[in-house]
Symmetry: C2
Subunit: 187 residues, 2 copies
């Protein structure tokens, strides 16, 4: 039996990523779970940000941002960057993160994050409590420690999953894209 | 040392969800990984869909769709619904899924999925290879089997994570939202 629940944001899981913005001299970090890929070609990502957030205006000013993929071992810092405001706290300092110059955009990358996705702000979609920033990927930097065949190795990166207020690691592999077509006899 | 990689859609993980569309009489399913929450109030979700996909026009016609959260045990069906076209295959039949009438929208829900998020199409954002459909949540149905405190229990639901072509289950809990603030002395 199903029960009808009042409309709410029932979709999960989400990635837990760190978005860096501002300048190398005056950088900030905001933790975002409502982040996704939006388009393959050109490559684009979306992040949902509340207009009252300190990072919102920083992104609007430079018209760019960096999506940094953190490691599971950084989950406390990820949580902290989602719990305090850059108005009050220097989050780079608080987290012992190092802002490093990006290749293409003016917003700095987080040096300690093994994957940095530099984005130009392409569109701002006004929705309500949140606006959707759609960024076109300008450059991707990957730490050689996690690099395999020009892509990050998921195991080595060990990224963070966010679902209903809880942070998780990845569990078991249960399939690969297209496996239902090639292994039709195995089930 | 970091290596610069040509721009691509480097963000992950994503949820693997089943989006149902069309009508109760002529329904279709499309697997979407590029799905996310877009706004808290009003509650909105986004899904990225290629305009050449069969489901694209179905959604444009009815101006609504349902995001269904599948169980890990349905991963083969999830993969199948992302590998074949509704032009050629009746995916409900092929997957032994049952289309059931939604509460608010004309697109049917998938009965076997324990969470159904009914959405009215609010905005279509043209990006390139993909358009972003932004849907306002009209109603949420949750199976009582997975329901706990008016929300789905993540363990009981056992949803699917998608990352770089691989399907995963959830792993270990490594924190809860706000834990970095309350347990400052424990690390």
């Amino acid at each position: 039996m199903k029960k009808d629940i009042a409309p709410y944001t029932a979709l999960f899981p989400h990635p837990a990523v760190l978005v860096s913005c501002g300048s190398l001299e005056s950088p900030n970090i905001i933790t975002i779970a409502w982040a996704s890929t939006a388009c393959l070609d050109p490559p684009m990502v979306s992040i949902a940000v509340t207009p009252t957030r300190y990072s919102y205006n920083l992104i609007m000013e430079t018209k760019d941002f960096v999506v940094n993929l953190p490691r599971a071992s950084d989950v406390r810092k990820v949580d902290l960057c989602g719990s305090v405001s850059g108005k009050d706290v220097d989050k780079f300092k608080e987290c012992s993160f190092t802002p490093e110059a990006s290749t293409k955009v003016s917003a700095p990358r987080i040096k300690e994050c093994p994957v940095n996705i530099e984005c130009y702000l392409d569109k701002t979609v006004h929705l309500g409590s949140h606006d959707l920033f759609i960024g076109q990927v300008a450059s991707v930097a990957i730490d050689e420690e996690v690099l395999m065949h020009a892509r990050p190795d998921t195991d080595k990166l060990n990224p963070i999953i966010y679902a209903q207020g809880v942070y998780y690691t990845f569990g078991d592999i249960i399939g690969t894209h297209g496996f239902s077509m090639g292994e039709a006899d195995s089930e």
